[in-house]
Symmetry: D2
Subunit: 345 residues, 4 copies
Amino acid sequence: MVRMGIRAAVAGASGYAGGEIVRILAGHPEFEIGAVTAGANAGTPLGARQPHLRPLADRILDETTPDVLAGHDAVFLALPHGQSAAIAERLGDDVLVVDCGADFRLADPADWERYYGTPHAGTWPYGLPELPGHRERLRGARRIAVPGCYPTAVLLALFPAFAAGLAEPDVVVVAASGTSGAGRALKPHLLGSEVMGSVSAYGVGGVHRHTPEMAQGLSAVAGEPVTVSFTPTLAPMSRGILATCTAKARPGVTAETLRAAYERAYADEPFVGLLPEGTWPATAMTLGANTALVQTALDERAGRLVVVAAIDNLVKGTAGGAVQSANIALGLPEELGLTTIGVSP
Amino acid sequence: MVRMGIRAAVAGASGYAGGEIVRILAGHPEFEIGAVTAGANAGTPLGARQPHLRPLADRILDETTPDVLAGHDAVFLALPHGQSAAIAERLGDDVLVVDCGADFRLADPADWERYYGTPHAGTWPYGLPELPGHRERLRGARRIAVPGCYPTAVLLALFPAFAAGLAEPDVVVVAASGTSGAGRALKPHLLGSEVMGSVSAYGVGGVHRHTPEMAQGLSAVAGEPVTVSFTPTLAPMSRGILATCTAKARPGVTAETLRAAYERAYADEPFVGLLPEGTWPATAMTLGANTALVQTALDERAGRLVVVAAIDNLVKGTAGGAVQSANIALGLPEELGLTTIGVSP
Amino acid sequence: MVRMGIRAAVAGASGYAGGEIVRILAGHPEFEIGAVTAGANAGTPLGARQPHLRPLADRILDETTPDVLAGHDAVFLALPHGQSAAIAERLGDDVLVVDCGADFRLADPADWERYYGTPHAGTWPYGLPELPGHRERLRGARRIAVPGCYPTAVLLALFPAFAAGLAEPDVVVVAASGTSGAGRALKPHLLGSEVMGSVSAYGVGGVHRHTPEMAQGLSAVAGEPVTVSFTPTLAPMSRGILATCTAKARPGVTAETLRAAYERAYADEPFVGLLPEGTWPATAMTLGANTALVQTALDERAGRLVVVAAIDNLVKGTAGGAVQSANIALGLPEELGLTTIGVSP
Amino acid sequence: MVRMGIRAAVAGASGYAGGEIVRILAGHPEFEIGAVTAGANAGTPLGARQPHLRPLADRILDETTPDVLAGHDAVFLALPHGQSAAIAERLGDDVLVVDCGADFRLADPADWERYYGTPHAGTWPYGLPELPGHRERLRGARRIAVPGCYPTAVLLALFPAFAAGLAEPDVVVVAASGTSGAGRALKPHLLGSEVMGSVSAYGVGGVHRHTPEMAQGLSAVAGEPVTVSFTPTLAPMSRGILATCTAKARPGVTAETLRAAYERAYADEPFVGLLPEGTWPATAMTLGANTALVQTALDERAGRLVVVAAIDNLVKGTAGGAVQSANIALGLPEELGLTTIGVSP
């Protein structure tokens, strides 16, 4: 009997997120890469856009259509927002559809419409297994909404504090992202000449689309509405997110109770590392790995807890998180095909 | 009659801050560079450490001693903390001493001892002319404490909000700095291999020494104690600070009243630019210039005002700010020898 | 009597080269900036594209037309190749036209057509004053062809060896350039995510358009045809060119005769620095400065002389070189408005 | 029966090369990591210096002594030059010793002494399996000298041309390296502030220690002495080498014969990729992968062939090459535990 892999298609394989899904699936012992599709790049070899994916360089990018994607066991979507629903409804209920776009992340239609300006498509199980109760919901799921890259970092940084009742529900987050988080679109401010040697702010004042996603996740854990002030910044690196997250500490919280809450939350998590005391996260520690690294502090003068998390935005923040959730959904070992060892320096 | 320049010595000229002072003074029409001094590098040519300072490359670095520094009209100190007092007391009261170190920045001895661990040396006029009342205090001064690089960015970002009574006295700041802010000391985490491609946090939880300096400046403007939660991060660039600063907005504050407060505060300031609406600061906009660029937002959902400021940490954040204050102290035009045009891209 | 500056227009002011011309002219004591023009960006404020040029941020970009450019004493053209001739012929013969494009650099129409594929427009005095005889030709000139950025570095690196008869006429050059050398056009390989962390080759095999310009300049100095094998590479930095240039040494050449030739050639040149022995050029030493830094070595085993030169591609390689030549043409001191002090680190 | 892995020790595991060996061995299905050792860092956890190696972070670094290294099946040495011989002679002849240092690379004692200044230790089989005849010599070997990072790139770029008799024996190489190639030693010119935004030359004029290694390898293939003019440069990135290599083409060589020689040479090589025509190597294509990417051109005007190769200096250039050769020596599949998929962008 020939053992067959799980056939997976990757839609949007010419972009950064899609390329990263292909990279991870290519090293996964259970997946077999079927169709790789693209929009404007359809018809060209994958290697022309993703020359680092050497063994698959000669694969021709198909057009992203339901017909091309049908006939796979799993379909990973790395498409611009708004395209996933039409594709997913054409794929069978038994097909695992993992959407790296935003379309099915938000439960509140008003939030969706406020931030995305289009009708709400619905809500799928949210692919952050570390959140309380989420791993269970992902088991056997056939539709998964992969979290945004910033929310991944922020939720992993803050949910243990809220789960333990240590933080006031008013959060401030400032995060730095590498440029791959902005995708491969040709925009003037993403030119190398502009980004090298420069850190810049954007989407300030609560307007970034990942803001309601953070609030949704934290509120669920806290059991009360949590407001989030989120400021994203662009840093001169290709990959990585460093999220600095702070909230007022509830009365009686000490550095020890804070750390203990995180030790409890992450004792058995394969992909989240609470760093030794005195060590603070750097994004380079996570490059290429499906790891979130976290450290906590209590600022007694300011009465605030501060938690910093680092991830690779394309791995734990997108493609690695997607495969981790897919592993769970398909009943595979959660860690299969995912590394916790970064490429550094 | 031969017109004589103001003879200036630069102590610590082999470091990054000292080199930048030399760079600026070399283009200043009224200063004439006298002694350039160093510690371990004394006896070697300036060009060996600062090859970009071509016209002065053959100058030999003297040892940093009061005797060498005496006999100048102005002495700029870019020394490790703790060395300024002993030197300053050996220089005449008529000599302008501009200290880029921290020794004379904090008014509260308890703050000093808590953060620096040594006896308090005293307090000198604080060289941030844009702060209310400070320009006047600098006129004719012969001792100036140059602000820290982070406090420069943060105070310029936030004081107008406090001056106008728009913000609650509980501030959160997350700032990214280029590596030159850490100086030229050989530390493993400052190696190029470590910093490139990585953003990292350090000094988290209220322990960074610039924290009390921010609180001191903001409290003075607010007329009440302001607490500051400050998290510095290291970004993969040589220069620049981007400070994201936020506080709860007082009731009734609107985006318009917020912006109006900044327009008022900075209408006549030559070195602070309130960017056009829709444009957010990037550190590259300020590279090499004595400029702080500022933008404001009101996040109504989170009830917070967010102000972002960008500076070149070595110019407006250190050497340029030092020369600006020296200009005022000496009765020269404040803008003399200082540019507001950055080098970009 | 009101002293009038030389009124200068800058065409292409929204690009990197044009922005740099504006930056330098803004600090030049004799020039006064008139029209700043653009193509697609006409009608928008200069600051929207060049936010670092603070004092001129509100200037509106005019359309690049002969009518707009007429009425200035000097016109600096920073346009795509092929547009300069039509503009220049509409400007009076008494107007100084300084072309940063390639149109008038090559004397040989066959070379032009081979590399640019369009009819040859003619030849203007070549704006590299350091080349033998060129300073004289620039005096009083009203048309100047600014050299390409790579040729500037390579000619300064190699002409003294050929002038002194030390090198065989078969040159190998490999140069690394920052991304600003490729301009501001939106091309996928220029995205920050692509260029950061990567050095790449392009235009290999003698096809880069700057190749015949190098051969032309070296052949003129050598008095015989010099062939040039030129390979450009793209480095992860915004600015700078480092050119490594080598040729077989003629019999009898020693490290001393080699160095002596460069000492002679550059003894009185304000903008070329022969570094102290043991120091090799780094592009950062020249950032923002109109400086070329050069160092020589003789590789006795390989029988080759190796000369390395560093420049800022936008300053000495484009805008600074343009202003230097304009100074000469207009009878101003050659160094006016140009600095030899870089911004570093 | 419990299946036992091959027990491997890594000496110098706190450095960049040693850390990379650990990274690769940790993902290798046949190796089991035994002792990890260090010099000054002995006694501290591996994670303090290599936080990206999460699963091994708690391993304590032993001191690098023969006693600690004994008792392993394989010992990988990533030590400063000059330390390998004393260790190797204390390890049994049946232990595989893979030396990433230079000690056993050069066959000619005069070359060794000229470039390293110490007595010659001997010569071990050279770990570049792609070179003609080398794979055979590595089979069953118990001592392997891993090539230098630059020679790896240069030999892979040029040996096919010499094997096919297409090139004159006078080679010019200019290569750019990321800073990790210089190791983790604290040197002023390796500070992030110095390297970011800058490309610099070093070791110019034939003095770099990798020069005789290149000449040795090419001469062996060419069957006649090949001279090498080699200039290394430092680029602002952590990893990667781009080597531009050129030699006069022998009469009759065409672009087609040149390419055909490389197609032949690399048709069956798992770790060398000849890129499609029109695509030039970028180091980012190889990050984290044991891949060398190569492209060729014939410059007819200059009469030169130009070959550009890109590698990750720490993988194919050091640790990956070491494991590849170890696989061969131990009779394992050559590709085991090594990826050809890079991490990009």
